[in-house]
């Protein structure tokens, strides 16, 4: 064996060891494909079961969309993927076909909206910034309708407010857009409570309709009495009450905005229904001024000038503005050629009712005729309109309604529309009239005649004075020499009196013997008095000496 290594003998090979046959089941290997089938089948089944509805969305442009990449997201959760993008048959837009996940079936309602979320930078804020790098996606706003739908028309701009946000929508009508735009805030007491959702030009081109959304719970503050106004910009107004500057916030100055408020003294009203149409006023003052549903028109005819009265000037009843001037015109009576100034005013009767405090009140009148009849009664009681000066600096006038019981009786002609409220001259006008009257009276005086008379009087006075002068001269010539003589005599008399007086003085001088005698007498008297004092002293000390005599020296 060893010498023939190249020809190995079969017998030299080791014998394989036999072991008992294991019950080997080669079928076990088939478990692998079975498992693979199960896994694959499960994946396939999952894919098929999870496959949701396929929808088509029409957009104007495919900007930002990419087939196979663009997702459909709801609350940033991916619920679908755009599969294909094709041009629409009429080439006016594109049709994106998207596959949605299973659970999104119920999202596809009649009023569900799709929109492309793109980066959007407005003055009011920045949104969709994430899409700047990741590319746009399609957002969905789930509708409330029950009707299912599969083909949609996508919005070009993401809606500001989505359907699930609690709150209500309202419509505002305005003359123009102003600086308000979609996304502009809506303020209530300067708190941002909503947004402008849409703006649209009216079909007749005569105005603009805003759609605003007020978030819950603020929507409850929108009542039927609520006034909306444009809060954008700075509102500077000059009227009879002076200059007023009003702004809402710096933000609203920049981006515009709408504010609303219920006039503080209006009647409580129920919350407005969704989609109620309100009027958007141009500013706050106007909005709150017109806080009235009932508007009555009256005509006031003034005889004098209405300079200083402007459209919009207040109609005032004892300090409460209850209306405003709408129109100022001129009328002429063709026969007499007398010009009069008719002024049309709006009167809001509810304003007085709203200020009602306590005590009795008049029942609110719904019909216009009834209110006019009431006005007639009031006029019978002396209600009159009067022009008054509101601001002395600017000369603005306002119309005051007040009771003037003493005024002459006038009755309203209710057949005329609008009815005319009688007027009485205003205080200023009255003053003017009075002054004019005085001037006229002055004018009537015959000043020239009076002047002539006065001149005559003066001439006679002059003559009289001349007579007096002559008289005085004669007095001077006749009387004065006698008077001088008399005076000379008097002077001599006085001189002799002076000599008499001098001799008297000599008599009384110190060297005269009369005075020397007098001095000696006085000295004597002095000595006597001293002796008397000595005697008195001794008597005081020795009263007994009066009887016993002067005592001797002490022992």
């Amino acid at each position: 064996m060893a010498d023939r290594p190249h020809e190995p003998d079969a017998q030299d090979l080791p014998e394989a060891v036999a072991v008992s046959r294991r019950r080997f089941t080669p079928q076990l290997i088939w478990l692998i494909p079975i498992v693979a089938v199960l896994v694959g089948g499960w994946l396939a089944a999952k894919a098929i079961l999870e496959r949701g509805p396929t929808i088509t969305i029409t957009f104007k442009t495919a900007e930002g969309l990419e087939a196979g990449k663009t997702k459909i997201k709801y609350k940033d959760v991916e619920i679908g993927l755009v599969k294909t993008i094709t041009l629409s048959p009429n080439r006016k837009g594109i049709v994106a076909t998207a596959e949605l996940s299973k659970q999104s079936e119920e999202f596809l309602r009649e009023d569900t909206r799709f929109f492309v979320v793109r980066p959007r930078i407005t003055a009011g804020g920045v949104s969709g910034l994430g899409t700047l790098l990741s590319g746009g996606y399609i957002g969905i706003d789930i509708g409330k309708s029950r009707e299912p739908r599969r083909d949609f028309v996508g919005l070009e701009v993401a809606p500001i407010v989505t359907g699930e946000e609690p709150g209500r929508q309202f419509m505002l009508r305005a003359d123009d857009l102003g600086s308000t735009d979609v996304g502009s805030p809506v303020y209530f007491r300067r708190v941002t409570v909503g947004q402008v959702v849409a703006t649209a030009l009216d079909k007749d081109g005569k105005g603009v309709t805003f759609t605003i959304f007020i978030q819950a719970p603020y929507d409850q503050y929108v009542t039927k009495e609520t006034r909306f106004w444009n809060a954008s910009g700075i509102d500077v107004s000059l009227d009879s009450s002076g200059i007023q500057v009003r702004t809402e916030s710096v933000m609203s100055i920049l981006v515009g905005g709408i504010a609303f408020q219920v006039e503080s003294d209006s009647l409580p009203a129920p919350p407005a229904d969704a989609n109620t149409i309100f009027t958007l006023f141009s500013d706050r003052t106007e909005a709150l001024k017109r806080a009235d549903i009932i508007v009555d028109k009256y005509l006031l005819v003034f005889d004098g000038s209405v300079r200083g009265l402007s459209v919009g000037a207040p109609l005032d009843f004892r300090g409460v503005t209850i209306g405003e001037v709408v129109r100022i015109g001129v009328s002429i009576d063709p026969k007499t050629l007398v010009f009069r100034m008719p002024v049309e005013v709006k009167l809001f009767p509810r304003r007085l009712a709203a200020r009602h405090f306590t005590g009795g009140t008049l029942a609110p009148l719904e019909s216009e005729d009834a209110r006019w009849r009431r006005m007639k009664q009031l006029v019978d009681h002396g209600l009159r309109a009067q022009l008054r000066s509101g601001n002395l600096l600017t000369g603005q006038l306002y119309v005051a309604l007040d009771f003037f019981p003493g005024s002459p009786k006038v009755t309203i002609d209710l057949a005329k529309k609008p009815p005319e409220i009688p007027t009485i001259p205003g205080t200023f006008e009255e003053l003017q009239e009075t002054l004019t009257g005085i001037v006229k009276k002055l004018d009537k005086l015959q000043i020239e005649e009076i002047g002539g008379d006065a001149r005559k009087v003066l001439a006679s006075l002059d003559e009289t004075l001349k007579g007096v002068d002559v008289l005085l001269k004669s007095v001077d010539a006749g009387l004065v020499p006698d008077l001088r003589r008399t005076l000379d005599t008097a002077a001599q008399t006085l001189k002799s009196a002076e000599g008499t007086l001098k001799s008297a003085e000599g008599t009384l001088s110190s060297v005269s013997p009369l005075q020397a005698d007098l001095q000696q007498t006085l000295r004597e008297l002095n000595r006597t008095l001293t002796a008397v004092r000595t005697l008195a002293d001794m008597l005081q000390q020795h009263p007994e000496s009066l009887i016993r005599g002067k005592p001797g020296p002490a022992p």
Partner: protein, 209 residues
């Protein structure tokens, strides 16, 4: 070609240590005297096992290519990539060599491997005598190249481990990666369980006749 084969001579070699044995009897399982490994002239149930693994691979290659292999999430949304979308992305991006590597390793190789194995199995089953040498070489290439298909899985696994920055960016392996890995492993097993000697059996039989 009249070559004597061990099988014709009634011998069998140990698969583990290569020791040649004489069979004892047909009714028993045999083990190697030296290393104790099971002995058989041909790999037992080679065709069945290969078929089973191959079918499993065929099934799994479908989700492997349809499901995302990699889910990369970043600040700006998440993106899922299947194998083919990765290739397309690289190609469009201009990285043609990378795209080619990925394509060959992840798509061309697994598919060609499956097809080649199917062909080998069918040819063996039909006892084809056509070009046995080429077929054997094909088998050798298959066995060698099979593991390189794992390149995609490696990339996915590496990125998954490395790129985890929370919300900023993160990469996760998708379900496709599991299926793809399973395909690669199954084809490797299938190639392993295939006994290339079976290619030659019909050749020997016809030439020996």
């Amino acid at each position: 070609m009249t070559t004597m084969t061990a099988a014709q001579a009634g011998f069998m070699s140990c698969h583990a240590c290569g020791l040649l044995h004489r069979p004892v009897g047909p009714a028993h399982d045999l083990v190697c005297t030296r290393c104790g490994a099971a002995l058989h002239t041909r790999k037992p149930d080679s065709l069945k096992r290969t078929w089973a693994l191959l079918i499993a691979a065929f099934i799994l290659i479908v989700p492997a290519n349809l499901l995302p292999v990699m889910i990369s999430g970043s600040l700006f949304g998440s993106e899922t990539d299947t194998i083919i979308s990765g290739v397309v992305y690289l190609w469009v991006d201009g990285s043609w060599p990378l795209a080619a590597i990925l394509f060959i390793a992840s798509i061309a190789v697994p598919f060609s491997k499956l097809i080649a194995l199917t062909y080998l199995l069918l040819s063996v089953q039909r006892r084809s005598t056509l070009a046995p040498k080429q077929r054997t070489r094909l088998y050798r290439v298959l066995e060698f190249v099979g593991r390189w298909s794992m390149i995609d899985i490696y990339v996915a696994a590496l990125l998954t481990a490395l790129v985890q920055f929370g919300g900023l960016m993160s990469i996760q392996a998708g379900p496709g990666a599991i299926a793809f890995g399973a395909v690669v492993v199954l084809t490797m097993f299938a190639a392993e369980s295939f006994d290339p000697r079976l290619i030659w059996d019909p050749v020997e039989a016809t030439s020996g006749r």
